[in-house]
């Protein structure tokens, strides 16, 4: 992977420049880190929408879109991400590199100037955001919060994790709550914005065919705005022992039932045994050759999808499958058998080899995607250790069968969630 250069602006923002000539674009991503906190999560999640309605120099959405589009279809996207018990507010801008545009040579500067204006120069009415923008964006945000039910797969996974972690900050929905939203005013949000910009630790990544010094100088000129002390983000609680397994059943007017099982692994990204956990998860359920796909789908013909995945910062594993509601018991039984087989070391050398190759492939292709390169750096920063691809591969290669069985022994089922049709089982 192209090595990145890490610098720091005087105001405390971390700058990561990743020079590479592989891509046709330059990607800029600014990521703010907040603790996942009930009282603040709604405000943080709402802020980007308000800022993107307009700044002093681009006072309407239409003017802003138009100015960005003029830069060859540039878009400024915001996103709310949850990694462990941490809420990330991300803004990203992907621009065509000027070398593909005859006659252009200032595209990055022009794009960043708009970006900066949007972030640091909001449109105000007195000491508050514009009231009409806030009203409209609150309504939009309420729809985002309520819209969670529209994607039944994502909804069932979210609900399982909510039930499972109900006593932990992890259960907080990244977009916040309708109740909290109702309390926000143009003034309260502006006050929060000012505090947010002062105290929220931020990373700025730039990736593309770049000169490091020139790029850094440009960023320094635009983003070295006045800030205060960083507000630290507390560590995510990983080591939690489940009590008795909880069974949650929820009815909704759906055709297909969604079965979701939540497990505690006790391991997160920074742990020595994390790579053994990755192998475990791969053999169990993250590939088409994995046990879940083979047994739930191919052999029993019960489902179209059946997979497991990790939440690597919180140390959770989720198994998810869409089935006929009548097949709940049968599917659950097959899943339990696969998890049990892992504990007993009942997997072949071929399972091991295929999983290792599949994961190696995944690490290597991350280098071909600018978003994935940034994400890996981000994951690494969260545990204080950014691994290069070579190191990742070495650690993956070092995992033995015994390591996997040892990890398997500590994987504990916490919650079984089932979304089913009304009047179903």
């Amino acid at each position: 992977m192209a090595n990145f250069q890490r610098r720091r602006l005087d105001n405390g923002i971390n700058v990561f420049i990743h020079p590479t000539d592989k891509f046709k674009t330059i990607l800029v991503q600014l990521i703010f880190h907040r603790r996942l906190h009930k009282e603040e999560v709604t405000q943080s999640a709402l802020l980007p929408s308000i800022l993107q309605r307009g700044s002093k120099n681009y006072p309407t959405r239409q003017k802003l879109s138009s100015a960005l589009e003029e830069l060859y279809g540039t878009e400024l996207m915001s996103e709310v991400i949850k990694k462990g018990e941490r809420q990330l507010i991300s803004y990203s801008m992907e621009l065509v590199h000027d070398q593909y545009l005859p006659g252009e040579n200032q595209l990055l500067r022009k794009g960043l100037e708009i970006f900066k204006d949007l972030l640091t120069n909001p449109l105000l009415e007195g000491n508050a955001f514009r009231a009409d923008y806030v009203k409209q964006e609150k309504e939009q945000h309420e729809r985002v919060i309520k819209g969670i039910i529209n994607d039944k797969i994502a909804y069932s996974v979210e609900r399982c994790l909510q039930e499972m972690c109900q006593a932990e900050p992890f259960s907080i929905f990244k977009y916040g709550t309708v109740e909290q939203l109702a309390q926000e005013t143009p003034k309260s949000l502006y006050d929060f914005y000012r505090r947010f910009m002062q105290e929220t630790p931020a990373d700025l990544h730039v990736i593309g065919d770049l000169d490091v010094e020139k790029t850094f100088a440009l960023i320094e000129k635009l983003f070295n705005y006045q800030r205060g002390e960083d507000l630290a983000v507390p560590d995510t609680q990983v080591d939690i022992q489940p009590r008795e397994v909880r069974y949650v059943k929820e009815e909704m007017d759906v055709n297909q039932g969604k079965l979701v099982l939540g497990y505690r692994t006790g391991l997160s990204y920074g742990d020595e045994d994390y790579f053994a956990l990755l192998m475990y998860n791969g053999i169990l359920g993250s590939f088409p050759h994995s046990k879940l796909f083979q047994n739930v789908r191919e052999k029993a013909s019960l489902a179209y999808y059946a997979y497991s995945r990790l939440e690597k910062h919180k140390g959770l594993m989720v198994i998810s499958s869409g089935i006929e509601s009548d097949n709940y018991e049968r599917t659950l039984e097959i899943i339990h058998r696969q998890v049990q087989a892992m504990k007993e070391g009942d997997f072949s050398q071929e399972d091991l080899d295929n999983t290792r190759s599949g994961l190696r492939n995944q690490f290597l292709v991350e280098e071909d995607n600018p978003y994935a390169i940034i994400n890996r750096t981000l994951d690494g920063m969260l545990v204080g250790q950014v691994w290069e691809t070579d190191e990742l591969l070495q650690r993956l290669n070092a995992v033995t069968r015994d390591d996997i069985v040892r990890v398997a022994e500590n994987i504990k089922l916490d919650t079984v969630y089932f979304l089913t049709g009304i009047g179903g089982v």
Partner: protein, 431 residues
Amino acid sequence: MKTQIIEQSLLKEKIYWRRVEPGLKVFVLPKKGYNKKYATYSANFGSINSRFIVEGENEELQVPDGVAHFLEHKLFEDEEGNAFDRFAVLGASSNAFTNFTNTAYLFSTTENFYRCLDLLLDFVQTPYFTDESVEREKGIIGQEIRMYEDNPQWRLFFNLLGALYQYHPVKIDIAGTIESINQINKEILYKCYRTFYHPSNMAVFVVGDVDVERVLDQVEANIQNRNYRPLGEIKRLFPTEPPEIAKEYVEQSLAVSQPLLNIGFKEQDLGYDGPLLLRREIATDMMLDIVFGSSSKLYNELYEEGLIDDEFDTGYVAEKDFGHSVIGGETSDPDKLFERLVEGIKQAQLDGISAAAFEHQRRKAMGEFLKSFNSLEFIANNFPAYYFKKINFFDYLQVLHEVTLDEVNQRLQDHLALDRMARSVIWPKTR
């Protein structure tokens, strides 16, 4: 055959290609420095090809809906097991997809590329279907269909197609229905295979840091070893689709948080493919984005009125025998939004598109096309699909440059014809 080159100087990309007897086209786009190597093997056979004359026979055959997709699932299986597993052994991941007009098999890998390429060619050319495995697949695809029944966007879209088209099979869900897939058996799959999976109805596309000549030679050797006979003409049969839509309005209730609205326009300018079709596609896409895109006046008014969110979108499909645009998204009030969209269209048709908006859109479309070339998947999935429509996808930038304001204005008048418009609504189910 000698290797030919297609070059796009602005993109700084080259495609090398060869015609391999009996008629397979093989394309290679080298991407220096990428770890990933990605290959697709596509057949010009999709969900709409449900009526045809089987190769070597005279009888017309009507197959159950969802056959192309079913065949895609089953082709991975062979006498010794499953191609998925053999890609896994090589460290590759494989997949496939079926759309209205094509079926594509693909893999992505960082190692053992040349062995994976042979595996791809081999498994697609080795159909092996048994009664037992066909039956088992019905359960799996049945759940795929059930999953889509709960997907509001998918239902909204197919309900709309059902309103736009009276007979054309594009109105039918790609996977078919639980009832239609239950009629599928191995004989039907073999008949479809024999008709459509001939090299001259297929294309290979490889992208990544590969040795161009080696790839081309390898594909050539693999195909030529199999002694294919030349294929006669494939007779694809379609019902006569009248220009009129089937119905103006269709609605359904699902467990959603708020309503969804799509409006669609049925294309009238049909019957040709090639560069002219690409030109119409580009002009129509530009028109839709100018009228409904995020920098348009209409979009911003609707947004401020709380009638749309930032997922509101347009799309246009241009095939030789059918075409339609789709406009919409989630909304608090689908009736009001519908009314406002119709007003907006009428106003746009009165005002016309300005030269400034047109040039602005051209820059935007150019940038978006350039950006998408970061993605190997984008290139390898699109190029063959356009090749089957007799379009060189690399011509996109040139055609974008040639399209005129008059053409785009003409599309605004012709394509957005309110008497060829249908409306689809999903309402929240109230408990």
